[in-house]
Subunit: 698 residues, 2 copies
């Protein structure tokens, strides 16, 4: 459970007081790369990344659109990321007879690298402020009109930017609508697996050790980006540090934190506490139980559901930690104080009061309405957790949405979004019908329970049949597990969809009108109104505090800074490094603490005092997984894969005393590759890249 020291600096005021008062501010903030607070860093550390440093880091950093970060580590498109970011690829490439989760994957030659179905990697090429255009389009509008205008403006800006499938453009709402930036990326859809350790090593310690430290986990994978069938030329890449890091060293993280809620109003925090987190936790807990017992059906079932269980258990730990933060009386008290201070400042200025004074109560009113709508909205939305249902829904909606003007489509169907959607539908990702039956039955049961047996949605999906029957029939009868069947409907358009007798398509059609109506109502009455009022609060905050505040995370490129250091837990000091010797000590022979024979056999060759995992006080959150941990000259000293348990509360605030980033040490990675896996090709590529004098040096 996150706890916070008395020295915690309130987040809104941190940037403000940074340059004027002692003590020095906490190493807080996930800073957009174009808003990096170099002055603050220089004041504390005596130096700061230059503009060239940042530009280089931008080009060398990538994101995996599945929700992770990564970085180029050679000039040939080699990407370092986490095992858990590549686990779905490992599973997709595996089969009953060739289970890479059990054996690990290692391509001895370039020709052995294998394409990851459906994987997309993005490299940021530019950021443009488009606030005026979006805010101008929505000015004076409310609810449905506001939402329609906002969506049209976004689609139009993105459409103008995304001129080819190789370019991805996202309009990003910062400060909850306070600013809009257009992020432009190179899009890579040919990504291949180069190396992944065994599941037992890439996720050593499993769920029990997740978010814990001391830690012993080789959460590592290498991918390679291909361009027109050949390894991508990536002149900007991060070099390996020869020496590695030491306690006290300043470090940086570049990556793509997925989302935070640090600027939330008190009403928004209470909504999370009372509504969103409990509903999600209950759903995930039951699903976890189903999957654990499903895994006991046999080896094959364990194989096909392994990555899903990892994802669910990770999410459960995150949401439990968030709920703990939300029910920590100190958090709500601190947030109330902070909000009261801002509201008082606004109230004192008649002009501000007139423009923004009513916004906090307006947010609270919108969320009172949301309490009645949330379960329905979330439960129907959750049907997308069934891959087959989700694919069927996309296929049913594509021709309908494509017939509309670009600005009026659902966001997933705009011209800019279409390449990602098509890639997902065309990908040859194996789908387990047995697992899909379990999932769909569960999701349909949730509809019956959360919306009611006699609700229109339950009646449309189930009629008078049970969730088990409907799920079994739809999954058994569908052919959409084969990419060819999906492609046929994708290319056949409306006529093909109309003519389809596929039971999954029929199931989607049965609920689609209700589903769209529920979604539209929530977007118009809740999301749009929230955005309108939180945007006003953002403007109020700028007016009172200036704009040197970092925005909440948005799965866009951010830079965090800090230093390698441990923390104090109760009476005990937690030191910042572990070693490979500790990994062998923790091996018990019993999952999730079991090392494969390869590791046990290699032990005599392994330098056991090699640093293996480490912590730093950089500010990160989920989505930063796979980020490089960089030293002052932008060399890799680690691979970020986790936060400690206190980092989970980072969703809502930053506890400088205890919030820590957890990373694999670069020396541990190299030692494992060389001494355990004999991965000489990768080691050679990294070593050669380190020594090359190229664009890699900032």
């Amino acid at each position: 459970m996150p706890t916070c020291s008395a020295r915690r600096v309130l987040l809104v005021t941190a940037a403000l007081i940074a340059s004027i008062t002692a003590p020095l501010p906490a190493d807080e903030g996930m800073w957009p790369i174009n808003r990096f607070p170099a002055d603050t860093v220089r004041a504390k550390y005596g130096f700061a990344p230059s503009a060239a440093w940042l530009a280089h880091a931008q080009r060398a950093s990538v994101r995996l659109v599945s929700g992770c970060s990564g970085s180029f580590v050679s000039p040939y498109g080699l990407v370092m990321t986490n095992y858990h970011c590549a686990v779905e690829c490992v599973e997709a490439l595996s089969s009953k007879d060739s289970n890479f989760s059990a054996t690990g994957f290692h391509a001895p030659a370039q020709g052995d690298e294998r394409q990851c179905p459906g994987m997309e990697i993005n490299q940021l090429t530019g950021i443009t402020d488009v606030t005026t255009r979006v805010a101008g389009a929505t000015a004076g509008k409310e609810g449905e009109q506001f939402e329609a205008a906002r969506r049209a403006a976004v689609a139009s800006i993105e459409g103008e930017c995304a001129t080819t499938a190789g370019v991805r453009c996202d309009v990003v709402s910062l400060y909850h609508g306070g600013k809009y930036d257009l992020y432009k990326y190179r899009r890579f859809q040919d990504v291949r697996l180069v190396f992944a350790p065994e599941f037992a090593v890439g996720f050593f310690g499993g769920d029990p050790d997740n978010f814990m430290f001391p830690r012993y986990n080789l959460d590592l994978a290498f991918l390679r980006v291909y361009d027109e069938g050949r390894p991508l030329a990536s002149p900007d890449y991060f070099r390996w540090s020869a020496a590695g890091g030491a306690a006290g060293d300043p470090v940086f993280v570049t990556g793509h934190p997925g989302g935070t809620s640090r600027l939330y109003t008190v009403a928004q925090l209470e909504f999370d506490r009372d509504v969103t987190r409990p509903q999600t936790l209950l759903t995930l807990s039951e699903l976890r139980g189903l999957l654990i017992e499903f895994q006991r059906r046999g080896e094959e079932q364990a194989r096909v559901s392994g990555s899903m269980l990892v994802i669910i258990e990770n999410a459960l730990k995150v949401y439990r930690g968030q709920f703990a933060a939300l029910t920590d009386p100190r958090l709500i008290a601190a947030k109330r104080d902070e909000e009261a201070a801002l509201r008082t400042a606004v109230a004192r200025d008649p002009a501000l009061a007139a423009k923004y004074g009513g916004s906090w109560d307006a947010v609270a009113r919108v969320l009172t309405a949301a309490r009645a709508q949330y379960a329905r909205h979330a439960t129907l939305g959750a049907l997308s957790q069934s891959t087959l249902f989700n694919n069927a829904r996309a296929l049913v909606r594509l021709p309908v949405e494509s017939a509309k003007p670009n600005g009026e489509r659902l966001p997933a169907y705009t011209d800019a979004a279409r390449p990602a959607l098509e890639q997902a539908l065309r990908a040859e990702t194996p789908i387990s019908k047995e697992l899909e039956t379990l999932l769909l039955s569960f999701l349909l049961r949730r509809v019956r329970e959360d919306l009611g047996l006699d609700s229109d949605a339950a009646r449309a999906l189930l009629g008078r049949r049970s969730p088990d029957e409907v799920a079994a029939e739809a999954v058994r009868g569908t052919t959409l597990d084969a990419a060819a069947a999906r492609v046929a409907l994708l290319t056949g358009g409306q006529a093909a969809v109309d003519a389809s007798t596929d039971p999954m398509i029929r199931l989607v059609k049965a609920i689609d009108a209700i589903d769209r109506q529920v979604r539209k109502r929530y977007e118009d009455e809740i999301d749009a109104e929230l955005t309108r009022h939180t945007a006003a609060i953002a403007q109020a905050r700028f007016a009172v505090h200036g704009d040197r505040i970092y925005p909440d995370a948005t799965f866009t490129l951010r830079v965090s800074y800090g230093s390698i250091k441990g923390w104090t837990e109760g009476d005990a000091m937690v030191t910042p490094f572990t070693t490979l010797a500790g990994l062998y000590d923790r091996h018990s022979g019993s999952p999730p603490f079991n090392l494969p024979a390869r590791w046990l056999d290699a032990k005599p060759k392994v330098k056991l005092d090699t640093p293996f995992n480490l912590v730093a006080d950089t500010d990160i959150i989920g989505g930063n997984s796979g980020s490089p941990l960089l030293n002052r000259v932008a060399e890799i000293v680690g691979l970020v894969f986790d936060g400690n348990i206190h980092a989970i509360g980072g969703e809502y605030w930053f506890d400088a005393a205890k919030n820590r980033t957890v990373a694999v040490d670069s020396r541990g990675i190299r030692e494992a590759l060389a001494s355990v896996y004999g991965a000489s090709r990768i080691v050679g590529e990294i070593d050669a890249a380190r020594q090359a004098k190229a664009a890699a040096a900032p």
Copy 2:
């Protein structure tokens, strides 16, 4: 989700204003039978139960110690209760080849009635106020001393009263320590199953319909109490109403509501909202998922886990409803107002302020400390959900506790409690090792997750092994699934326990010292201190409001009153009766809405317009299941089996406009017995009893 009309009368003041102001008070309160508010009832309904009426009702009402209510319905010990209260007996008497869950159970002759393993029924014979003695023993004490003194006083009072195994004596804390009453019972441990319908009929509508209305459920079972091998003579019993009830009729419920929290302070409510309910919900949700998937292993697994799944799904619905009430901003607001009013009244009187003024803050302080201890306490306590572990723990502790003076033992091991414990250990209840393995593995995993892999408790239970391994080994190796093995250890005492190599006994021994220490700390630092301060608040409430307040439910005999009536849901009126025709309409052929062939075949004979289920605005809660619904002359017009969805919030407040009791109509019961089951012996016994002129007429 419970909602409350503007007319809701705040609970603390309801009794106060009852006799002086219009409008008439809500039909609120689960009244101890010796504190029944006859004046209030007379003012509203023009009559009230007499002392004789109440004395008769007391003798004709029983409780099932497993957590239900029931009543005598003939002079020969015939007890009417719910199917769901007897479901564990039905399962225990079933086997792979003789599955009474599927077929129902019907004893055509008395000799066919079969003993329910481990079932105990109590009949209340007297209530004595022992407040002076308990309060005297604890006066001036705190924490550990308070707890020890309270426990010694209770054990001593109970021990003096429980002179034979046939007498059960419970000291009951009312008003959270404000008063103590000694409840004396006749104890019956030979209870036999007479009739139970099929699971599909006794739980028609299953979890989806649970807490819902309109409803169509024959949640009925008949048991018979035996005394010295023969049917008990039960001269006080409730007669069947010939006419049944009608909308608007006044009705009464006698029964044993298990617990409510309506007198909680705001800090206690927040503790439930933030800590106890979320932890319980997450645990139950995951267990539900495990069990649903376990059931899919096969018919036999479905059979042995059926009753457990019912219990868990019911509990989940209850706790979800409670959490919804706790997060309803109106509830906390109302409770805050109520508490502020009482505190203001106390603060105004210097004598009261000196004695009680600090109690609310003291409760809040205790609960702040409880936040750090709760997970550990609850998770180790939850190990008792494994029957084998629970039995092993009782066997390990029995000789240790028995060697202590009665007043110093853990409550389950006092002289007064011992007959119940021995019955449980000696009962020939079948235990599924497959299900126990699942359960114990889950409970051990919870220890590892909630307390941490490196906690002393996890280390003691698991060492370096996994929960799956430890559970599988302990369950596979134990012989405690056989009653003979338990009896051997029970009679063999300390020497037998010391010599035992049973792995389940070893597992209990490994954790027992830690378990006892965690429990004792929680009892001394949290429970005792809470009791001390909530008792003071109760005294303050008596001083300000007088003592015409009903205490929170305590699984002791209570009487509720009200009338048969529907309610308004949104724009719709819900009428108070359903019919057997509605049951046939709801039959879809698919569980849980599938009628057995017997019902479908009988349809031409069934009078379809017979009332089947009904609602009344009597105030009940879990534990009232199986209660009779009585008319003004104490005749049975229904069998209580549920509340509507708004009744769940009854844990914390009473919503007179919407909170409803759900019952099976007495006419529907008789029609089903006669026309579907051909249960002529039971129908004959009930009819004869109705016509007999005996002590049954009040």
